[in-house]
């Protein structure tokens, strides 16, 4: 077991996958805190922004907790997971709401064509784009677990991994200290643990 004094905070977004994210970080030997407290979040070394549900509901939860400006102004590494990654975008066509506007782009509905089923649910392989420390030691073709019906299109600048389901979309994005993954690393077996470890070991 790794013993670490790193202060890790999982933002209490009121969404459903918080427990699984917490357990996954604990399995790596850390002691994360789930909190909506501004001071606790601000003082963290690493911040997770989990999300499951709809864009409108998640933004409403953040607004009710006065967390929108707080998250926007964080300077330490932040990892948005699934809907938490979509929250980083400018706008979402799901619920037609403004998001946090930290990573350029609009979240779009995925297209179910050619017999593809929605939600996009299950293990799909990703392709890292460029060199990003989040994907250190994670080769092209690695499977991660996805569950979603909306996605962030590929950006030449901010996409750090792509995935294909009908269209190619952003499996992961990064801008400054904000990272986002569309898949669920907490549910992606060894590959997911590796990615979480990479995030936790990022040096600013």
């Amino acid at each position: 077991m790794v013993c670490s004094n790193l202060k890790i905070v999982i933002v209490d977004t009121g969404c459903a996958n918080i427990a699984s994210v917490k357990y996954a970080v604990e399995r790596l030997g850390y002691s994360p805190i789930v909190s909506g407290d501004h001071e606790v979040i601000r003082s963290a070394d690493k911040v997770f922004l989990p999300g499951v549900g709809s864009a409108g509901e998640a933004m409403k939860n953040l607004a009710e907790r006065n967390l929108i400006e707080l998250v926007r102004n964080l300077t330490q590494p932040v990892l948005g997971i699934c809907l938490g990654m979509q929250l980083l975008a400018e706008y979402s066509d799901e619920s037609h709401v403004d998001m946090l506007d930290l990573v350029p782009g609009t979240v779009k509905a995925m297209h179910a064509e050619d017999g593809l089923r929605l939600p996009h649910m299950g293990w799909n392989s990703i392709t890292p784009v460029g060199v990003n420390p989040l994907f250190k030691g994670i080769p092209t073709g690695t499977y991660f677990y996805f569950v979603h019906s909306f996605c962030l299109p590929v950006s030449d600048v901010y996409t750090v991994a792509s995935c294909e389901y009908g269209d190619v979309f952003s499996a992961a994005v990064c801008k400054d200290n904000f990272y986002g993954v569309q898949f669920h690393p907490e549910r992606s077996a060894e590959a997911g643990a590796k990615l979480l470890k990479n995030f936790l070991e990022l040096t600013e």
């Binding site: 427990a19 649910m121 299950g122 293990w123 799909n124 392989s125 677990y145 979603h148 907490e186 077996a189």
Partner: protein
């Protein structure tokens, strides 16, 4: 490419994993947490836990084991059995389950599907369907309360109509359990799965009948299901997970390494 999913199903009764033949004569297979952990380690893509007594006993699944499973498991898992309200579902999701599967309560109150979809999003909402082929009428009928033989009833729903209804109401995935095949191990009901596939735009999981590795290949290649669920072949070590996965890859089925 999206991989097809291999899903061991753990039927839970009184905190133990059990397996019966056609829903009867349950034998104890082992404790929940170590079995779940073992399946995650050998490469299962997802797990389903069915509290098979819960619906018929009018009690919600005991949640204590859900968080114990969530602590050790790093693959997705779904909990089913006796979940009758949005609050029941919320408690289980907050304990770390990824999805909720409803079956009898959805038949008793179809509005529950919509309420759950609105509360958690459709990706969390799985509808399980126990379908029985009536050879007298030549039709597929939906059964309710199959956890207790003495209470099992045949509903007025034809399976194909119910498949469409649950999607209209917000189901994000359908598990089709072909009851005539349950525990018999002579293959998935490909005829029925193909009929349902034509009507099903959300992920479809085949359940009931797996006995050999070829049965999995047939379900994926012939009926184009998204996942195949099985219990006894895994619990009794008749099929090895890694052998199954390499067998399927050779049959050109997209499978996670």
């Amino acid at each position: 490419m999206l991989a097809k999913r291999i899903i061991p199903c753990l039927d839970v009764r009184d905190g133990k994993v059990v397996k019966g033949v056609q829903f009867r004569n349950h034998e104890i297979m082992g404790d929940i947490v170590p079995l779940a952990q073992k399946y995650a380690e050998v490469g299962a893509d997802e797990l389903v836990f069915y509290d098979i007594t819960a619906s018929s006993d009018a009690r919600v699944v005991d949640k204590s084991w859900v968080s114990r499973v969530a602590e050790v498991i790093d693959i997705p898992f779904c909990v089913a059995g006796g979940i009758k309200t949005v609050d029941d579902a919320r408690r289980i999701l907050l304990n770390g389950a990824d999805k909720i599967s409803i079956n009898s309560p959805a038949l008793a109150n179809p509005e529950l599907i919509t309420e759950m979809e609105q509360a958690f999003g459709k990706q969390c909402v799985v509808v399980g369907i126990d379908s029985y082929f009536n050879s007298d009428t030549g039709s597929y009928q939906v059964k309710q309360y199959t956890g207790d033989e003495s209470r099992t009833v045949t509903t007025s729903w034809n399976t194909l109509d119910w498949v469409e209804e649950v999607q209209r109401r917000g189901a994000g995935e359908i598990v089709l359990n072909c009851m005539n095949k349950d525990g018999v191990r002579d293959g998935y009901d490909l005829e029925q799965l193909k009929l349902v596939r034509e009507r099903c735009d959300v992920p479809l999981i085949a359940s009931g009948g797996a006995g050999t590795m070829q049965h999995f290949a047939d379900a994926f290649n012939d009926a184009d299901v998204d996942g195949a669920l099985a219990a006894s072949v895994f619990h009794k070590a008749i099929i090895d997970m890694q052998e199954l996965k390499s067998f399927l890859r050779k049959q050109n089925v997209a499978i996670r390494y």
